[in-house]
């Protein structure tokens, strides 16, 4: 088993690095004390993978994702995508939030998808943009809801629409901040499966923040476990279970157990 893991890690190293973090640090200063949320993080993200950032709340996983998105300033370190320093948000890295209210409520579902396409002149005409939007709404199984307003959709449908809006821009990387965290268990499983289908069809790289070990194991190629004390990544665990993955199948519990043991769930021991 140990040798297998070694082999698997080496296979991964062969892949192209799309985003490279070197010694990235982010501090919050509160009057006297300095809170080190991210302390010298090193991480490579490979093209086409799903990387899960897993950890308890307050461990800095969202802060790390926002760094990669380019939303926040950082104290030190370098964060390169395709060799260029990330200094601001860009269309090639699209963020999907946990909040259901990320769609613009004053636009219908299709207008929400079309608008960023118009801004970025993706299609040559409005008709072309509309066709692109319809195609991606079909991909996320929202056909028939084009003309609904966001407030008329369920939480799961809103997250699907947000996925369509993001994917239509053909980003290289999708940054997902616990996007299914507020959904009920059944809808969450349906959306995880949908995400995997979309990932396989588009080949997009996904960085997926979650605090749910099961979600991380089912979705990801690698799991970066973050801890509250360490202000950084404790360990990156490769997860090469065969897809489609089913909870409880061979290999599942080993990975689950491995991640669980890293999570400080019983810190007194």
């Amino acid at each position: 088993m140990g040798n297998d893991l070694k082999q698997q890690e080496e296979n991964l190293i062969d892949r192209t690095v799309i985003i490279c973090l070197k010694s990235v640090s982010k501090y919050y200063r509160r009057s006297q004390e300095t809170l080190r949320v991210l302390d010298h993080i090193d991480l490579d993200i490979y093209q086409g993978e799903i990387l899960a950032l897993l950890g308890p709340s307050g461990c800095g996983k969202t802060t790390l994702l926002r760094q990669i998105a380019g939303f926040d300033h950082r104290e030190s370190g370098s964060l390169l995508m395709d060799g260029h320093e990330v200094v601001q948000p860009e269309v090639k890295r699209i963020m999907i939030f946990q909040d259901f209210n990320q769609l613009f409520p004053w636009k219908t579902v299709i207008q929400n998808v079309v608008y960023p396409l118009q801004v970025n002149r993706v299609g040559e005409s409005d008709t072309a943009n509309r066709e692109i939007a319809l195609e991606y709404l079909k991909l996320v199984e929202l056909t028939g809801f084009e003309d609904s307003y966001p407030h008329q959709l369920s939480g799961g449908m809103k997250q699907k629409a947000a996925m369509a809006r993001a994917l239509a821009l053909k980003p290289k990387v999708l940054l997902m901040d616990e996007p299914f965290g507020s959904l009920d268990a059944l809808t969450r499983i349906a959306l995880q499966n949908l995400l995997l289908k979309v990932w396989q069809e588009t080949g997009v790289t996904i960085i997926f923040v979650t605090h749910d070990i099961q979600e991380a194991v089912i979705l990801s190629d690698r799991i970066a476990v973050m801890g509250r004390e360490t202000a950084g990544i404790k360990k990156v665990i490769p997860n090469l279970l065969d897809r489609p993955r089913v909870v409880g199948e061979a290999g599942y519990s080993e990975i689950y157990g491995h991640v669980y043991s890293l999570m400080d769930i019983n810190p007194t021991k």
Partner: protein, 263 residues
């Protein structure tokens, strides 16, 4: 959901109508009882006849048109200026501080208090009335719009930045629609303020030529002790207020923020 909306607005109209009738009946009872002299408390019929006469002669229509034209001008200038100023303030901290300070100074200042000064500066023409309307409307509007901008969920702005929107697009396509409920309440307050400012200013300025507006019309009837005429003028003001509230603002709200589930 649409059904309940329709039924509830129908219910609202029914209740309204009921109370309007009750008030009119009470009015007529008091007028007919002779408790007050007819000269100061005229019956509905007399008021209706005064209204009819001034409509037939065309005078009240002329004055109403004059007032409406002024208020619309003042209102539009204020709305555009308020959106412009608030947008600039949203993008620049220094300017934001200036606008905040100016609003704190000017907002509590009644337009009428400025009248003598405005007469000295602009004379007694329509320009002065416009200045008073704009002063009365612009500050509550700016305050509302700026509050609306601040209340916007940061996710909308972040999503916008992520999609590569420039500053202008963020303001036009995100800040303004996202704060529309606040903009709308600013417009409502502004409209009420504009009417008050307009009618008071017209009463004081008097007529320029034949035209003096509804305020002047009401004021003028006092000179002739024409109480029914005064009520006719007041009736027109109330009517316009109700039409604008129920058919312009409410309809706009129905088609925007309500349809979008934002309120």
């Amino acid at each position: 959901m649409k059904m309940t909306n329709k039924t509830s607005s129908y219910q609202k109209i029914k209740t309204r109508l009921f109370w309007v009738i009750v008030i009119l009946v009470l009015w007529e009872i008091v007028a007919q009882s002779g408790i007050f002299p007819a000269a100061i408390f005229p019956s509905l019929l007399v008021i209706a006849r005064a209204l009819e006469n001034s409509i037939v002669s065309g005078e009240i229509l002329l004055q109403t048109a004059f007032s409406l034209a002024l208020i619309l001008q003042g209102f539009l200038i204020s709305l555009l200026a308020a959106i412009l100023v608030s947008s600039l303030a949203a993008g620049n901290k220094m300017f934001n501080g200036l606008v905040d300070t100016l609003a704190a100074i000017a907002h509590p200042l009644p337009g009428i208090a400025l009248l003598p000064l405005i007469i000295v500066w602009f004379g007694t023409g329509t320009t002065s009335i416009l200045v008073i309307i704009v002063h009365s409307v612009i500050w509550p509007m700016i305050l509302n719009i700026m509050t609306g901008f601040k209340a916007i969920s940061p996710i909308y702005k972040e999503a916008g930045l992520n999609f590569g929107l420039n500053r202008f697009q963020i303001i036009k396509d995100i800040l303004i629609p996202a704060s529309l409920p606040y903009v709308l309440s600013g417009i409502r307050i502004g409209w009420a303020r504009a009417w008050r400012a307009l009618i008071s200013a017209e009463m004081i300025f008097g007529a320029v030529g034949l035209k003096g507006g509804l305020g002047w019309y009401i004021f003028k009837q006092r000179v002739f002790m024409d109480t029914p005429g005064m009520f006719a003028g007041i009736f027109v003001i109330v009517l316009i207020g109700i039409i604008v509230e129920d058919y312009v603002f409410a309809a706009f709200e129905e088609r925007t923020v309500k349809k979008w589930g934002m309120i």
